[in-house]
């Protein structure tokens, strides 16, 4: 394994859900305060901050709530991959010698219902939206349908992914959806984007998540249980990759950006898929989780049918995936979602997860994927 230069010493979460009357910035503030307390660090010791949000134009305005200390505070947004980006930037500030202690925070508060925007913000022509094609959910259905067809995976396996997410949500006190659903109940829910059904999808919601980082050689000043950042990568899609909102695709297919982000992350960390104990994958929908299992190197295409049937992705299995119920049980406040993954990994690696604890977890892996075709991977270890 590579020698780490950056440690994670504290994590915090404002649980995801619906909070009438509470702003995204306030939820981010709660997450940062919890992360600082976890790290044993005072806000005045923080030397730089990165924030991400889809709905808040200047999420770095969180300093107005935490304290206007004058530190460099910046915002960045890379869609669903934002959590990986702010974490990487907060780590890079430490690597560059700009700061010894930094904070990464994400927050969001989405209106109910499907995301709606003008196609021009995605570089697409007006007619694409007028014709009813400007919907990211089409991509999830189209990719899942083709993947299931190519690799002999049943619709029941999609339902098993969602059922597992709700069971893990039941065991997670801060999860949004905590009522376990059976495979039969999920299969009886309406088809939204064939083959994906209502209960196989995550929903946009609200929440915040934060991480406190410091120089690896100083981590033991703050905590007896630091985690080390072993890899953080981000790749955009290349020509031929089947990504969201593509009016056309070349016949010569290229792998998803996730494949490149994953390979590069394992190389950075000096680890392989078999070294990972806890896995967080972008489960915008059950199909995405199945596809991402293979794209991240945890199984071969098609093996998911057997792995899900045998319970291998459950908390007690050989590939525990989305142990806190993932996006399906927590929803997706886009700016915060990636740091929720890191929050769960940190708690797993620090043995704090109670009845959803993966035994002897030492290496955690988190993958994000979203618009416009961006994938990020983070690897942490004890």
């Amino acid at each position: 394994m590579s020698t780490p230069d950056v440690a994670i010493i504290g994590t915090g979460l404002h649980p995801f859900g619906r909070y009438e009357g509470k702003s995204a910035l306030q939820m981010g503030e709660d997450a940062v305060i919890e992360a600082l307390a976890d790290a044993g660090v005072a806000w005045e010791q923080v030397q730089a901050l990165w924030a991400s949000s889809m709905e808040v134009t200047n999420p770095e305005a969180i300093l107005g709530l935490l304290g206007r200390t004058g530190i460099p505070a910046r915002a960045t947004f890379t869609g669903c991959a934002s959590g990986g980006t702010v974490l990487a930037q907060a780590a890079n500030a430490i690597r560059m010698g700009d700061a010894d202690i930094t904070v990464a925070v994400g927050m969001d508060k989405h209106p109910r219902g499907a995301f709606s925007a003008h196609p021009s913000v995605a570089g697409l022509p007006d007619w694409y939206g007028e014709a009813g094609l400007f919907l990211t959910t089409h991509f999830f259905g189209l990719k899942a349908n083709r993947y299931l067809h190519d690799h002999g995976i049943s619709h029941e396996t999609l339902a098993r992914v969602a059922a597992k997410a709700t069971r893990n949500g039941e065991r997670t006190p801060h999860a949004w959806r905590r009522k376990p659903l059976s495979v039969e109940e999920i299969m009886a829910s309406p088809v939204l984007n064939y083959p994906l059904r209502q209960y196989m999808y995550c929903n946009p919601d609200e929440g915040g998540a934060a991480v406190v980082l410091c120089r690896a050689d100083q981590a033991h000043r703050y905590t007896d249980t630091p985690l080390y950042l072993r890899a953080s990568t981000l790749f955009s899609g290349r020509d031929g990759a089947f990504d969201l909102l593509s009016p056309s695709l070349p016949l010569a297919a290229q792998p998803s950006p996730t494949v490149f982000a994953s390979k590069a992350a394992f190389e950075q960390a000096g680890l392989g898929p078999s070294d990972v104990d806890v896995i967080q994958l972008q489960d915008t929908d059950a199909g995405s989780e199945i596809i991402h299992m293979a794209e991240n190197g945890f199984c071969a295409d098609g093996d998911q049918e057997r792995l899900l049937a045998d319970g291998e992705t459950e908390i007690g299995g050989s590939l525990p995936i989305n142990t806190d119920g993932g996006l399906i049980a927590n929803g997706e406040p886009v700016g915060a979602s990636g740091l929720r993954q890191v929050y769960e990994l940190a708690n797993q690696l620090r043995g704090r997860c109670g009845e959803r604890q993966v035994s002897d977890a030492r290496v955690g892996y988190a993958q994000l994927y979203g618009s416009p075709g961006t994938a990020a991977v983070t690897i942490v270890s004890t």
């Binding site: 499907a114 089409h138 695709l249």
Partner: protein, 148 residues
């Protein structure tokens, strides 16, 4: 009522045998929807307009169950009259995979690999009261029934 394409340079129209329009660069790369220019090895190049094949095979498909948020959606329907529709990618031989609405609204009647053909179908109404036309793909031989 005059029928006008929903956007210029999308398909040949009016035409007895319409085709989708793509751009082609000097290195043979096809770009759909057509745009005037593209970077080719560092130089901005004017693209040649070419017609895409009218027939292909269904690569994948999915369903749209609720009326898309409007705007940007501009269908002639409203919340009450909206009918769920299907979209797919159609693989046009030696060309591109094209994302399109499909004329068959029932996903049970679609299958990956089936033969599809281009249709130009009525969609909505523009600001001048013209009927807008969009491209869609239909199972080969299916009756002409609009964008579904």
């Amino acid at each position: 009522m005059t029928q006008v394409p929903i956007a210029p340079d999308l398909f040949t129209w009016p035409s007895d045998d319409p085709a989708l329009i793509a751009g082609r660069s000097s290195d043979g790369v096809l770009v759909f929807p057509y745009r005037k220019q593209k970077l080719v090895e560092g130089t901005r190049e004017e693209l040649e307009k070419v017609e895409l094949p009218r027939h292909g095979t269904l690569w994948s498909f999915t369903t749209q169950r609720f009326r898309p948020p409007a705007p940007p959606y501009a269908g002639a329907d409203d919340a009450e009259s909206f009918e769920p529709f299907t979209v797919g990618y159609v693989e046009l031989p030696d060309a591109l995979l094209i994302e399109a609405r499909l004329t068959e609204p029932d996903h049970e009647k679609l299958s990956i690999g089936q033969k599809m053909e281009l249709r130009i179908v009525p969609f909505g109404t523009d600001a001048d009261g013209n009927e807008t036309m969009i491209y869609a793909f239909a199972p080969v031989g299916a009756a002409d029934r609009g964008a579904n």
